[in-house]
């Protein structure tokens, strides 16, 4: 099958996922040429196209002032217009890919594979991929036919980029082939998240608390531990959703990216959206009452216990030592 990859970019730089999509495509169709599609406008767009010629043998550039911001509804129309029949297209499973992919599969009359973390095998036109369910607690093999084309959303960070790729691609301008660019959804503006009292992105030691804290009143034990350790309190998304802590404390893909030296995750299961916000390879300690929690697969040190009992004891001991 003919494979394509839709490349997102910002300020003249291709997203990290560009090379990852190339790597995933190489597993689906070994040795086949893969075509990147990049939309946008102006000089930044050309820069991005030139950047990715090392990873893709062909780069299709679509330049239009209406595509300056990647509105998922418009990109769906462009791709429906551009892609040949029965094509396969890879997209990063980020907030943009989640917006674009499912509807695109309907418009193309193809199958949709969401949030793919691995390629298991390809046998004729039968593709088997690996996905995760229940927040990463279990994995599944998922199979479909590629005969009628496929939209394949790839989880960021799941495929290792080939840094030495030399695809030597050429850039083709297809700006004239966008088709109709009217849409019932109009992009207005971006509003940045508010900054908080403490900047967790600058802290060396973070005590992160998740849904396992169970109740707002229990946050006290986390704050006391943070104080004893001279650390700052961070959290997972459900704690912010419940309005127990400010958004500026949230670590993850839809929160902040932190680079601490030490990260203590308390009552956090370890979803990829949460872990995606932890960079710089810190020393991660996971404290969770479920021995099968996915976070134990990625943490350096794990403790299976109830944080409501354990954290106060830990605080007491640390206070004892330092006094």
């Amino acid at each position: 099958m003919k494979l394509f990859a839709y490349i997102t970019h910002r300020d003249g730089t291709a997203d990290d996922s560009a090379q990852e999509l190339a790597a995933a495509a190489a597993q689906i169709a070994p040795g086949e040429a893969v075509t990147a599609i990049v939309t946008g406008s102006g000089e930044d767009l050309q820069t991005v196209c030139d950047q990715i010629t090392s990873s893709f043998s062909e780069v299709i550039k679509v330049d239009s002032s209406e595509l300056g911001y990647p509105n998922g509804e418009l990109i769906r129309k462009v791709l429906t217009n551009l892609l040949p029949e029965n094509a396969g297209i890879l997209i990063a499973h980020n907030t943009f890919g989640m917006d674009l992919g499912p509807g695109l599969s309907i418009k193309l009359g193809s199958v949709f594979l969401a949030d793919v973390v691995g390629i298991d095998k390809i046998d004729g036109d039968q593709l088997t991929v690996v996905r995760q369910e229940f927040g990463g607690q279990v994995s599944t093999h998922v199979q479909c036919s590629l005969a009628a084309g496929a939209v394949i959303n790839i989880r960021p960070g799941s495929f290792a980029a080939d840094e030495n790729a030399e695809a030597g691609g050429s850039v083709t301008d297809r700006s004239g082939d966008t088709g109709d660019l009217t849409s019932g959804r109009k992009f207005l503006e971006l509003v940045e998240a508010e900054v908080g009292d403490v900047d967790i992105t600058k802290e060396d030691v973070l005590i992160a608390v998740g849904r396992g804290i169970e109740d707002e009143d229990n946050l006290e034990i986390v704050e006391e531990l943070a104080e004893a350790m001279g650390a700052a309190v961070a959290c997972s998304r459900p704690v912010v959703d419940a309005k127990w802590l400010e958004k500026s404390r949230q670590v993850g893909t839809s929160g902040l990216t932190v680079k601490p030296k030490v990260y203590l995750a308390c009552g956090i299961s370890g979803s990829f959206q949460h872990m995606g916000g932890i960079k710089g390879n810190p020393f991660v300690v996971a404290i969770n009452k479920n021995p099968k929690a996915p976070i134990f697969q990625v943490a350096d040190v794990g403790i299976v216990t109830d944080i409501l009992d354990f954290l106060p004891e830990l605080t007491e001991k640390i206070e004892e030592i330092s006094s």
């Binding site: 369910e133 207005l188 839809s254 350096d300």
Partner: protein, 260 residues
């Protein structure tokens, strides 16, 4: 505003540890506690708040079996006006596109200004909303964290993208939106609320009543099994009694600069 909210019944991961069964090909389904998909509660709450501001009605709908009746009642106890259960043996094999096709048939029988879904459910695909929109040829926005009425025929919606940045869009009605957690604080449903709706009639619609056939219900994407991948070593687990664990942990934290 006439609002349709698509909801689904899922194993409650806050109440259960999801594990493999002894055969190692499915999750252990005995003793699982089920509830409404987390994201859907936010969608229903949002629909109720919009209705209370501008009038209209909220209908909750699900593709499921007899047991899904209870989640429709729960959402009606929250304040939804109507429930519809789409149930047929032919729906059991449906993949995401199949579910979307079933919902599309039901949506087309009504006249809705706004169709909401949760951003995703336990499978983490987040696919049904976008597929439904494309099938209905309606504009779509995913991961919505704010909805504001703006003018006669449109709403202003905020999508939460990377880094918590909000992408503001103007979207014309009717449209489909998938709702992200945190958009509101879903109200608490007490046992009394559930009792009030215990005897409300919830119509059940089968494949023929929806005017579709077996071949409309896609099953092209097949889940073959469940498994737990071997992720290598994983974390070094600290064992012993609490005191021993704490001593070890403190030593490690000191070495890594975690304790000042």
């Amino acid at each position: 505003m006439e609002i349709l909210v698509c909801v689904t019944r899922v194993p409650d991961t806050a109440e259960n540890e999801i594990e493999l069964n002894s055969a190692g090909n499915d999750i252990e389904r005995d003793d699982l506690v089920y509830s409404v998909n987390e994201w859907d509660n936010y969608a229903v709450e949002e629909a109720i708040q919009i209705r209370d501001r501008v009038g209209g009605s909220v209908t909750v709908i699900t593709v499921g079996d007899d047991e899904s009746d209870e989640i429709l009642r729960r959402e009606m106890a929250m304040g939804a006006d109507k429930g519809i259960l789409l149930s047929d043996d032919a729906f059991e094999k449906a993949d995401g596109q199949g579910i979307a096709a079933i919902l599309k048939a039901a949506a087309a029988q009504g006249s809705y200004d706004l169709i909401l879904t949760g951003a995703q459910s336990e499978g983490g695909a987040g696919e049904v909303g976008g597929m439904l929109a494309a099938m209905l040829d309606l504009p779509y926005a995913s991961l919505v964290v704010s909805i504001e009425e703006s003018g006669d025929n449109s709403v202003k919606v905020g999508r939460e993208i990377e880094g918590g940045t909000i992408e503001m869009n103007e979207i014309s009605l009717p449209c489909v939106l998938s709702i992200q957690t945190g958009i509101n604080e879903p109200r608490y449903v007490g046992i009394r609320g559930i009792r009030k709706v215990a005897n409300v009639d919830i119509p059940v619609q089968s494949i023929s009543e929806l005017g579709i056939t077996d071949s409309d219900v896609s099953s092209s994407v097949k889940r073959l099994d469940y498994f737990v991948p071997d992720m290598g070593e994983g974390a070094e687990m600290l064992e012993g009694d609490d005191e021993e664990i704490i001593d070890k942990l403190i030593e490690m934290l000191k070495a890594k600069g975690g304790i000042k």
